[in-house]
Structures are given as C-alpha cells and as structure tokens.
C-alpha cells in the first residue's frame, strides 16, 4: 500500500503553468529524490504537498485518505483556505525542511523544537490546565522527545543556544529535528544544502542518510546528484512542470531514456567537474 499517492497535480500562477500534471507514489520508508533544472517546478510541487500552495487540479492521498482533491476544491476553494483547523490537521501528515532553514531566531534550539508540540498539546487543554502545563507529564514527554530528536541530529549539547550562534549546517540540522518532532508521515526537503557552504553540506546529508536507515519516508529536492543516486529509492527528473523521467537511481542516472534527461545530467557532470579543478 502506498503511503503517498499523487495524481495529476496541476498548478499555474496567472498565465504561467508551473506544474502540468504530476503523478507519483511512494511506499513507506522510501526516499524519493527530485532533480531538475531551476524553474522546473520542484519547489512548487513540495509547496502543494504541504498546502502552502493549493494545486488547481489533482489529488493528494496519504495512507489512502484523500487529503486534497483539486476538482472538489475548485467548487469550494475558499472553504479550504479559510478552514484553518482542517488544513492544519492535513498539513501535519507532511513535514517540510526549507532551503533557508526558517528557524525561529528568538527561541533557543530546544524551544524551536518544542514550540509547536507544546502549543498543540495546550490547545486541547482547559484554561486552568494550561497554566500548569509546564509541570505536567505531557510537557516532560514533549521535552524528552525533543531532546532525543536533537541527539539524533547530533546537537544535544546545543539545546540552549540560539540559532544565530550555530553554523548553517547546524541550523539546518535543527530545522530537520524540528520537523521530525511533529512525527510527519512524509518529510520533504527543499534543497536542504544549497544555502550551505560546501564543507557543511556533508553533515546535513549524513543526517538524511541516517533518517533513511530508520525508515523515514522522505522526498528530497536536491542538486546533489551523487547523494541522490546513493540514498534515493526512486528518482524523478522534472523539466518544465512535467516528470520527464522517473525510475530507480540506476535507471535515471545510468540509463536515461529521454534526451532532456541526458542533457541535464551531462551538464551537471561538467559543472561538477569544473568545480573540482
């Protein structure tokens, strides 16, 4: 049974058709790498999955539950956008790690992780219980989980630091931990290393590799071809809003069928080769 089933996603901004019908599915524990040149719609696709944008057409189903149906939303589009409560529940199926981290600068690392779970737990409590929440067992459990997640990304000793006191790589690892704490079914990454200095990308990619070992279902938009071919179970090459080529890393990287894919991959190779010299 597929954990994620995406069918016929279309999205346009004004006259520009950014996504022209995207289909794919993902099994539990699988890692999907999405590659493609700039402007091909990779970010837009992730944003549609996380409901930061609303697809014009198509369906998104997680665990066989249809979360989004563009055709139905077209009729009642306004309803979904304003129905905050429902939308929030749907969003929690997905986690998103941003290119530029988007950590909360005024919160310590541990508070960055705990803010959303604490607010979520508090919102189910009565007014009086909220006052004493920080002494409750539920709060202790959230804190414990946050600390455990921080250890997972190797930053336990930074828990009381502020984001501005961390390196870019460490900040991105905090952002990954923050997304993990919410227990998403599918964790999405939008070019998690492209805002980092080259020597810092390794630590972030290592964390993602370790997540794969613990059966985390992930979608990674990346320009790191080597990483994609190592870690991914499936690779999608996107061009101009369509999936130009999809398959295992072996199929896409070693035996691409489409001319566009071949051209893209060879341009990447020369770019990478140029960098080494």
């Amino acid at each position: 049974m597929a954990i994620l089933e995406v069918r016929g996603i279309k999205k346009s901004f004004g006259d520009t058709n950014v996504l022209k019908g995207i289909d794919f599915s993902l099994e539990k524990g699988e890692v999907l790498a999405i590659i493609g040149s700039s402007g091909s719609g990779k970010t837009t696709l992730l944003r549609c999955l996380n409901f930061l944008e609303f697809a014009d057409e198509g369906t998104i189903a997680v665990n066989d539950e249809v979360l989004y149906d563009g055709a139905a939303e077209k009729v009642a589009k306004k309803k979904l956008k304003h129905n905050d409560g429902m939308l929030r529940k749907k969003r929690l199926h997905f986690g998103l790690v941003f290119q530029n981290f988007n950590l909360f600068p005024h919160k310590s690392v541990i508070d960055n992780l705990m803010l959303a779970p604490v607010l979520q737990a508090k919102s189910e409590l009565s007014f009086i219980e909220r006052w004493r929440f920080e002494k409750s067992r539920a709060y202790a459990a959230i804190r414990e989980k946050a600390l455990a997640t921080l250890s997972r990304v190797g930053l336990a000793e930074k828990k009381n630091n502020y984001p501005c006191e961390l390196s870019g790589g460490q900040q991105q690892r905090v952002a990954i931990a923050r997304a993990l704490v919410m227990n998403p079914d599918i964790l999405c990454f939008d070019e998690p290393t492209s805002a980092l200095d080259p020597e810092l990308t390794g630590e972030v990619l290592k964390v993602i590799r370790e997540l794969k070992d613990t059966d985390t279902t992930m979608i990674v938009v990346t320009h790191e071809m080597e990483f994609a071919s190592d870690v991914a179970d499936k690779v999608i090459y996107m061009a101009d809003g369509v999936i130009e080529e999809a398959g295992t890393p072996e199929e896409v990287f070693r035996h691409p069928k489409s001319e566009k894919t071949k051209a893209f991959l060879s341009s990447r190779k020369t770019a990478a080769g140029g960098k080494d010299e």
Binding site: R91, G95, F98, F104, S123, C164, R178
Partner: protein, 229 residues
C-alpha cells in the same frame, strides 16, 4: 516663594504630565496594534478607511486635534466634557476632569496612529518564511502571531518606539491649550506673580524624565540582544 516651594508646586503639575503620559501609552500601544491590523487588512474598504484615518491624524497638528475633540461635541449641542467636568467637581471635588479626559482621548488616538505605522513596518519586516514554518508545523494564525511574529516585531520596533515615546513626553505640554494644568501651565501661573525662572526650571523636569526613559530603553534593547536576526 522658596526654591523648594516652587519645586513642590511644579511637581503638582508634573504629576498630571506623568499621568497623561502613562494613560496615553496604556491606550495607544494596543490601539496602535489594532489600527495596524486594520490598515494591513485584506478587506479593502477597511484598510482604505484606516489608511485615511491615519493620514488625517498624522497630517493635522496635535494641538488642533485636542481642540477638535474638546470643542466639537459642544458644537453638537452636547458638551459631554463640560458635563464630566461638572460631575466630577460636584461629586469628587476634582477639577477639570472633562478637559483631562478629552486630552487623553486626543493623545491616545494621535499616538495610536503613529504607533500603528511603526507596528506595520515591524510586522512587514518579518520574512514570509517565518509564517510558512509555523504553518507547516500546524500552528494556528493566532499562535503564529503571538509566539513567533510579535516577539520578533517587538525587538525590531524598540528603537523607533522609544523615539516616539520620548516625543510624547514633550508633547504633553500641549494639554494646556485647553487649560489642563500640566507642568508648563503651572509655571505660567507663577509668572503672574512675577516669577519667571520656574518656567525655565520646568525643562529640568523633562530632562530627568527623558533621561530615565533613555536608560530604560537602553536596558530593554540590551535585554533583547540575546539573539540576532
């Protein structure tokens, strides 16, 4: 009158100056936030209406606004502030309460409009990514604003706010245009008995007040420098 006598006499007026200052802040700080929400609202008529209000309030001298608030109800044959004056005088032996309330209203509206623009600048300077990070973590709009946006806005607006608040200290002197006996008006009364120096002496009161505020804002800024953006 000795120096001490004059000081005590002026302190009486200074009390009113301080009260006007404090009440204006109490009302204008939250009201300003509310107005900034209205000017940023996606409901077009609402945002246009409040933008016009802010334009008018910031465009007309505060002195004129005090006159308008105090006298216009009188023209409408319903001199509410005079009635309040009388009521307080008869019941509590407090003089000029109506005038004082009129000044507080005028100051609160005026400063709320200035503050609203500072809030707006602060809120709009928070990157969109912060909202999106909150959305992806399943936070509500209210939670996002109160736990993530507002704390960051506060840090950013402390310098412009302190500027505006220091201006408020000195603007309180305008209250005397409708005969509210604040500090300078007290000093002017002494001039009737040929004492001129107290008028200049009032400057010391303002200087000390502003000095204390400057220290306070410096302290707040320092307190909030635990993180950088």
């Amino acid at each position: 009158m000795s120096f001490l006598d004059v000081t005590l006499y002026l302190l009486n007026g200074f009390k009113l100056t301080c009260l006007l200052f404090a009440l204006t802040l109490v009302f204008a700080l939250p009201l300003g936030l509310l107005i900034s929400f209205c000017t940023m609202s996606r409901i077009k008529p609402l945002s246009i209406l409040f933008k016009i209000i802010v334009w008018i309030v910031r465009g007309i001298p505060l002195m004129l606004q005090i006159f308008i608030i105090y006298y216009v109800p009188g023209f409408l044959n319903n001199n509410i502030f005079a009635k309040v004056d009388l009521y307080f005088l008869l019941n509590y032996q407090v003089q000029d309460m109506g005038r004082f309330i009129a000044v507080v209203i005028a100051f609160s509206i005026n400063y709320a409009c200035y503050f609203s623009e500072i809030y707006r600048g602060g809120i709009q300077s928070i990157p969109n990514g912060q909202y999106e990070a909150c959305a992806v973590l399943g936070m509500t709009k209210g939670q996002t604003f109160s736990h993530v946006i507002l704390p960051q806005v506060v840090k950013r607006i402390v310098p412009p706010m302190s500027n505006e608040i220091i201006t408020l200290v000195k603007d309180t002197a305008l209250a005397r245009v409708i005969l509210v006996t604040e500090l300078i008006m007290k000093a002017e009364r002494l001039m009737a008995s040929a004492l001129v120096w107290p008028l200049f002496y009032t400057g010391v009161f303002y200087l000390i007040f502003v000095g204390v505020l400057t220290l306070l804002f410096g302290f707040i800024e320092k307190k909030m420098s635990y993180y950088k953006v």
